[in-house]
Symmetry: C2
Subunit: 302 residues, 2 copies
């Protein structure tokens, strides 16, 4: 019997979610820690938002670093949680992992038939355009509201955290980290959309969410942000060479060129034979968690 968490209904708040922003939907022991699925009313999106939280055993003894994982198009908070196998290494390293849903959802939330626009495709931007702008405020949600709620609920080290993501979530992780290096100590990505202003998925979404003036897109384009700002610590990227989206939607070489132009500390690994799936993410997730733990533990003196 395998239980689909998406079909579960919210239940009463558990006693040990210490303060009240989150309702607990499910909880399971995992590698000595706890895998939680939570829901809360988001002020940023104006909707209920689901979040997956892995609490490692070390969090029972004191504050731990936290890393945020952002998923890609069509995903929810569940894909990474059940498919990436991240809990084993997070348990070992003493990292909390927080994985939010990829967009606001619900009957009141606009949608589209296109996988790259609407529910499941928030692109981690703050929309300025009707009908999206009422709810599609994922940049503020992920970079501001959610970390504040996590910090007042769970035993995490405040102020510095890590962020990583896959595909559209890799775009989210890179742009959020580069715009807020005071909040994020470490960043990495799997198969990221690095140049959304230049590829079909990104251009369609940005035109809808941000309007036709491409000047407004610059703050959400990792390659352009990297040229302007860089990032204080090494950036880690894994990209499969057999990824069917590599040439059309990802165009990793644009980011590599910007890394070189800026002299940014980075490790970009083109992984031969790997595709765009969570089998790829699972294969290299341990390296990413070690990357974050190494930088974040240095930062906290731990």
């Amino acid at each position: 019997m395998d239980v689909d968490q998406r079909q579960s209904q919210p239940v009463a708040i558990a006693g040990d979610v210490r303060r009240r922003p989150f309702q607990e939907i499910s909880r399971a022991s995992s590698f000595g820690g706890q895998q939680l699925t939570l829901i809360h009313d988001s002020a940023a999106t104006g909707t209920p938002m689901r979040v997956s939280v892995y609490q490692p055993p070390a969090a029972e003894r004191g504050a731990v670093p936290v890393v945020y994982f952002l998923s890609g198009l069509t995903c929810t908070e569940e894909n990474f949680t059940v498919k990436a196998g991240a809990q084993r290494m997070a348990s070992e390293l003493g990292l909390m992992i927080v994985a939010p849903d990829t967009s606001p959802r619900g009957d009141r939330v606009p949608n589209s038939d296109d996988d790259a626009l609407g529910q499941g495709a928030g692109f981690y931007v703050d929309s300025t355009e009707a009908p999206w702008s009422d709810h599609f405020q994922m940049f503020s949600y992920v970079s501001d509201e959610l970390p504040r709620l996590i910090e007042c609920t769970f035993p995490v080290i405040r102020g510095k955290c890590g962020i990583l993501g896959h595909s559209m979530g890799g775009h989210g992780a890179l742009t959020i980290a580069m715009r807020h290096p005071e909040r994020y100590g470490s960043v990495s990505a799997f198969s990221p959309i690095v140049a959304p202003s230049a590829v079909p998925w990104g251009r369609k979404a940005f035109a809808a969410y941000l309007g036709p003036d491409e000047a407004a897109w610059r703050e959400y384009d990792a390659t352009l942000l990297l040229r302007d700002r860089g990032f204080p610590t090494q950036i880690l990227i894994d990209q499969g060479t057999d990824d069917p989206f590599l040439q059309t939607q990802l165009q990793t070489e644009r980011f590599i060129d910007a890394l070189k132009a800026r002299g940014q500390s980075a490790k970009v690994r083109m992984q031969a034979g790997y595709d765009h799936s969570y089998f790829f993410v699972a294969t290299f997730i341990d390296d990413h968690l070690r990357h974050h733990a190494h930088i974040l533990h240095q930062g906290s003196g731990g």
Copy 2:
């Protein structure tokens, strides 16, 4: 973008599936090996059957041991494949993993509204009763037809393999191994249904598939088989203490009593705080794969 493999259509046979029983539905690199989803026409069930195969890197250099994983109620070949995180350790140990679907499926195949009967609930028996007996021949499929097809297609060490499973699949693994110790060198289970003749899930399914005469059920009841036959090597079982099915459907203590009565070599671990989910399976899958590799490598002189 996360791709649901169940929605994919079969494509042409890949060149490196060397002989022809299987069609390849999908393939992804995973921990240096290949994660395949295959489909083939089963003579035992009279239907197409899906199978997941993880081929470790060691299989490129020579024959490797193979372990079969049987899933539980409501599952397909995909649940274990994407949720258990087994590929990492299978890659390290050089084990092939084969995970079949849990029943015949299709419009022609009888079904029921009950999760514990019909499609997704084959219970690894050879049905003798209408309308089930035309297709529900999962014991023969898993213990005979599938291993023969795997052995003529993939570089596996012939004759001895391991078998493990979860819940209904734990029942399948234990009963198949004890009835065919000449084929299976090692066996283990997560949260197994150990006494189907005595619990609601099992009694309902066995009455439907095997008829009212309980004498016919004995060959499919792990606790009764253990009392009669035992198994030549140590049996490993992990069971969560917070499993909601423990008291009603699993009743592990019946099997423990039989282990003691027989003096069977076994390790039964009651894992405090763990439930019935794949988070539980993922936490302890490494130990199970090591258990199988240890016994199977001894058996092959490797």
